[in-house]
């Protein structure tokens, strides 16, 4: 066990991506300290997301990352980390009830095909063959057979557990206040519990990344955005696909355990208090239930056992900021994931570890530059 506050890399944020980066760094023999402001590992978006391992519906800039992860990292992740992370690759159905919905789904399918993803439209009959519990109102769907889902809490904790075993030092209950330069390089992380020092500083702290980076003159245009989910009691296995709708009324899946996890909204998400503990609001769970039952009437007697909420670090252009900061050598960004971070967490962790090791990245990440935000005029 190290006794100093110095390591090759200091990671701010012990979420799925911070823990994944720590894991891949320790595999390369690089020493890591991970600082987490919460008392719990993965207490932000990493334990508060729908668990989708989805390529379909991604922005064209993000699609190559998602496809690389699904081809190369997700299938072997449970073996790699030594525990079952409940990865289930049984496809994604995006449902439509009207001609207007099908038009949206066709557009989405065309855009995914342009990026090289195998996705196609299916008619009502084929959609029901894939998932027999659909409402009769469903007239068609977008179908991506290689999409899937996994358990985000297990993925995060599996990366943490494996990185910790490899010697990464995780400290919870430590709040990073600012990053300081030494001789022109980002080197010190000032916290409420002393100063930590590294050759590379990774900022993977969700929305807090914006506040911390502002001290160095960077301002990433993102806002906290509330997301809410309902979880049911365990039910017999009904379907294994990830589900969504053309209108994004809800999304979700049935977990390995048997409970359904459904995310949705009330329409007032942009008007929430945007600080502190994310709170489930009385209006939303009810709205999610109605949305789900509109597509899956068979679930009407299934019981909700809990609800929860989380913050999304929503970026102005809905794709993340990943990469080095030219004006602060040594600083690496991994933030603004806009609610799609979990599905690409293994690949982003891999890329961040490559950056810190001074290696060429496996995939081109120039589209995620922090410097891409220009004024409108």
């Amino acid at each position: 066990m190290m006794n100093t506050n110095t390591a090759d890399v200091i990671i701010i944020g012990a979420g799925a991506i911070g823990s994944a980066a720590a894991y891949y760094l320790t595999k390369k023999g690089i020493s890591v300290i991970v600082l987490e402001k919460s008392d719990y590992i993965g207490n932000g978006g990493s334990s508060r997301n729908g668990g989708g391992v989805r390529q379909s519906g991604r922005d064209p800039r993000e699609l190559p990352l998602a496809m690389y992860g699904v081809r190369n990292l997700w299938p072997s992740l449970s073996d790699e980390l030594g525990m079952d992370v409940e990865y289930c690759q049984e496809g994604n159905l995006r449902l439509g009830k009207t001609e207007e919905h099908l038009k949206i789904l066709r557009g989405l399918t065309a855009s995914c095909n342009a990026g090289g993803l195998d996705m196609r439209m299916v008619d009502a009959k084929e959609a029901r063959e894939i998932c027999p519990y659909l409402s009769d109102e469903v007239v068609g769907a977008g179908w991506c057979p290689t999409d899937g889902h996994a358990n985000p809490m297990l993925v995060t904790l599996a990366y943490y557990r494996a990185a910790r075993r490899n010697g990464a030092r995780f400290i919870t209950g430590v709040r990073a206040l600012e990053i300081r330069k030494v001789r022109g390089r980002a080197r010190e992380v000032v916290t409420d519990n002393g100063v930590y020092e590294g050759d590379t500083i990774m900022l993977i702290a969700g929305y807090d990344s914006r506040v911390i980076a502002q001290g160095l003159g960077f301002d990433i245009p993102m806002s906290p955005f509330l997301m809410e989910v309902v979880v049911t009691e365990d039910a017999p296995p009904m379907f294994r696909q990830m589900l969504g709708t053309a209108m994004a009324d809800f999304y979700g899946h049935q977990s390995a355990h048997g409970s359904f996890v459904f995310g949705g909204s009330s329409g007032y998400e942009a008007y929430c208090a945007s600080e502190g503990t994310p709170t489930s609001r009385s209006i939303t769970a009810s709205s999610v239930c109605r949305a789900v039952l509109g597509y899956f009437p068979a679930l009407s007697r299934t019981k909700i056992v809990r609800t929860w909420a989380g913050w999304i670090d929503e970026c102005a252009d809905h794709v993340p900021v990943i990469g080095r900061a030219d004006e602060a050598p040594g600083l690496v960004f991994g933030c603004a994931f806009s609610g799609h971070g979990f599905g690409i967490s293994p690949v982003v962790g891999t890329l961040l570890a490559e950056l810190a090791a001074g290696e060429a990245t496996t995939l081109d990440i120039s589209a995620f530059d922090y410097d891409r935000f220009k004024a409108k005029i």
């Binding site: 904790l157 400290i171 009810s286 239930c289 039952l293 009407s300 007697r301 909700i304 809990r306």
Partner: protein, 108 residues
């Protein structure tokens, strides 16, 4: 545990105990041994153990086993159970059917 917690803390070698097979979380059938092993795997509080093992995530949402799990974690870490936060209570307080939860007004 509120405050700074270094997860590199050495808990020593895991020692099996004769009552490791005892079921603590009845809803999810999680044993005492599984909870003790999770602590040795770095899960140092009720939140992480819940997310790791599902204990307290079933029908009763931990109302039955919450205190027991907390005590087992505290003992493994050699701290007082009072130092560990409780799990977060979440709505609804009793399981509620979706068609009822989704009802906005009588008759709808």
């Amino acid at each position: 545990m509120s405050g700074v917690c270094d997860r590199a803390r050495d808990l020593g070698v895991f020692q099996s105990a004769s009552d490791d097979g005892r079921i603590i979380c009845r809803c999810e059938e999680i044993t005492k041994g599984e909870i003790r092993r999770a602590v040795h795997d770095g899960m140092f509080n009720l939140h992480e153990v819940r997310r790791f093992l599902r204990c307290g995530m079933g029908l009763c949402q931990g109302q039955t086993c919450g205190k027991l799990v907390r005590a087992i974690i505290a003992r493994e870490l050699n701290i007082s159970a009072a130092e560990l936060d409780d799990a977060t209570a979440r709505a609804p307080m009793r399981p509620l059917e979706m068609e009822i939860f989704g009802r906005e007004a009588p008759g709808i």
